[in-house]
């Protein structure tokens, strides 16, 4: 649906050339929710703007449904953009127009006929759950409601692709949750392909099928969400994954524990999560596992569990215990004092 090939974008600033995006290739399949995560300044905002050519890439190509859109005429570009909806962190609604007009005006300007406009506005306001707010002005709505209007506005264009630029970043956790559910519903009911950028791992966790991690303009890791959670390889990716657990040990506690045995992070995916492996460890070896932190994360399709465990015991015994755990399909990682 969306295919970026070796896309780079650089800006000329007073301090020299800035490479906002550096040779990024990725592909978003029809009907999936694809997330791009990265810290501020990683280039994700520029990347998503390259998809609908709000930024034109310096080099590389952008394909939308097998059409190379990097070299189309201005007129064709308008048509391409009309098939791609976009929502923003700042909602970007007309302050001086009612909710109804906010959705109706863009339709009018893209030559949708009058009757159709009224039908669509009503239909999509109902889908986002704001059928009673037709005459309200954005200033009278909460952040979550404004984002719903923005989503209705995007949907009313009946796009095949929806781009989401940090759409939940300005919202509180509860509202974020409800907006994510709405996005999921849109994806499932209308089959709209969604590409989103975010700096919040829980957005990725809840709705993304696949994810790309960006840093300094490059994609440093990409794959299925479950794989990224289970086997993050790049340190930045690991930091993002760890941020979901919200359970980090104070370094001095960790240093003390290490005296009597290793502290490890165990990740359980799929089958391994249903076996009582820790109990068998204490039965089979001279090791007493002590759970320090842990949690279960519900991804869009699967669940993944993670525990931080102190293996109290002699060096040889703990080594054998770790080997056994790995045999059982549990992923074992040492917890380093430095990055915990």
């Amino acid at each position: 649906m969306i295919k970026l090939t070796s896309v780079s974008k650089s800006f000329q600033t007073k301090k020299g050339t800035v490479h906002a995006i550096d040779d990024v290739s990725l592909e978003v399949a029809k009907g999936e929710i694809f997330g791009v995560i990265g810290y501020s300044g990683a280039g994700k905002s520029t990347l998503i703007r390259c998809v609908n050519l709000l930024e034109s890439p310096t080099t590389g190509s952008v394909m939308i449904k097998d059409q190379d859109v990097t070299n189309v005429s201005a007129e064709e570009l308008l048509q391409v953009r009309r098939k791609i909806g976009m929502i923003f962190q700042g909602f970007n609604l007309l302050k001086t127009a009612t909710v109804y007009d906010n959705i109706a005006i863009p339709l009018k300007l893209t030559d949708v006929d009058k009757q159709e406009i009224d039908q669509r506005v009503r239909k999509y306001l109902q889908i986002v759950g704001l059928e009673d707010k037709h005459e309200a002005y954005p200033g009278q709505l909460s952040g979550g409601q404004k984002q719903r209007v923005a989503i209705a506005r995007a949907l009313a264009q009946e796009p095949e692709i929806l781009l989401s630029d940090e759409a939940t970043s300005a919202l509180d956790p509860e509202t974020t949750e409800s907006i994510l559910e709405l996005l999921l519903k849109i994806n499932q009911e209308f089959g709209i392909t969604i590409m989103l950028i975010t700096h919040e791992m829980n957005v990725i966790q809840k709705i993304c099928d696949r994810v790309a991690v960006m840093e300094k303009g490059k994609v440093i890791e990409q794959g299925k969400t479950i794989d990224i959670y289970a086997r993050p390889t790049h340190p930045t990716t690991r930091r993002f994954v760890n941020s979901t657990y919200h359970k980090e040990l104070p370094p001095h506690v960790l240093r003390e524990l290490i005296q009597t045995g290793p502290v490890v992070r165990l990740t359980f995916v799929g089958e391994s999560s249903s076996k009582p492996v820790l109990a068998s460890v204490s039965a089979k070896f001279q090791v007493s596992p002590n759970i320090l932190a842990g949690g279960i994360i519900a991804l869009k399709q699967e669940t993944i569990g993670a525990l931080v465990v102190h293996l109290h015991g002699e060096k040889e015994e703990t080594a054998r215990a770790i080997a056994y755990l790995e045999e059982q399909g549990v992923k074992v990682e040492g917890v380093e004092v430095t990055y915990v």
């Binding site: 609908n52 709000l54 570009l77 308008l78 048509q79 391409v80 953009r81 009309r82 791609i84 909806g85 976009m86 923003f88 700042g90 970007n92 609604l93 007309l94 302050k95 001086t96 127009a97 005006i105 863009p106 300007l109 893209t110 002005y137 954005p138 200033g139 923005a150 506005r153 995007a154 264009q157 781009l163």
Partner: protein
């Protein structure tokens, strides 16, 4: 009592005439200043770096031109462009002769005020409309001008009041008006009551215009 009657009979027609002259000058020059200034303001916005019609050269030229015209005091401009005025309207005196310099003075002012009003429009909304495949001219009309309406109205109110001030000097080219009346009767002929009445009318006029401007702006402001 008779003094007041005498004043009403003797001076009121002149004052009424001056009011009409002021209104003529202000309304005609405002109309043309807006017709020139508003597009100029839009052009200043659009040719700015990073905007739809980004063009450094055009922006720089417009910017400097606007600054030059705005830096000449009206009373000097009035005489400075006499030949130009004659070229445009065929005369350099009377109401016609005053209107040209008033426009030359007010249009760049309005351009700058409109530029500022339009700058206040959230660039995110413009980006959102671009992302929906909306044409630039539609964005100008339905986003830029629409969202800036409150600031545009307030800007025009300022421009209008400045114009009224400008018409006071138009008496120097024989255009009449309230300012000229106050000067001729009040200052040159020591008829201070005429000056008082004129000043009073001007105060009421400016107060009313500002209130109307504020109300209209508030009506369009929805946040």
């Amino acid at each position: 009592m008779s003094e007041i009657q005498q004043f009403i009979e003797g001076r009121l027609p002149i004052i009424g005439e001056s009011v009409v002259q002021t209104f003529q000058m202000v309304s005609i020059s405002l109309l043309f200043s807006v017709l020139i200034g508003l597009p100029l303001g839009i052009l200043l916005i659009l040719t700015r770096p990073g905007n739809a019609l980004e063009n450094r050269a055009v922006y720089l030229v417009l910017n400097v031109l606007v600054n030059i015209l705005r830096s000449i005091p009206f009373i000097i401009l009035l005489f400075f462009i006499l030949p130009f005025t004659k070229l445009i309207v065929g005369t350099s005196i009377g109401i016609k002769g005053a209107i040209v310099p008033l426009i030359v003075h007010a249009a760049p002012n309005i351009a700058r005020l409109m530029e500022n009003a339009l700058l206040e429009v959230d660039s995110g909304v413009i980006e959102a409309y671009k992302s929906m495949g909306i044409r630039t001219r539609h964005i100008i009309w339905h986003v830029l001008l629409r969202e800036a309406r409150p600031s545009i109205i307030l800007g025009l109110t300022i421009a209008l009041i400045t114009l009224i001030g400008g018409t006071a000097m138009a008496g120097l080219v024989g255009a009449g008006g309230l300012g000229d009346l106050a000067y001729r009767f009040g200052h040159l002929r020591y008829e201070v009551d005429v000056m008082y009445v004129t000043v009073f009318i001007l105060i009421v006029l400016v107060q009313c215009l500002q209130s109307i401007g504020n109300r209209l702006a508030a009506k369009y402001k929805k946040d």
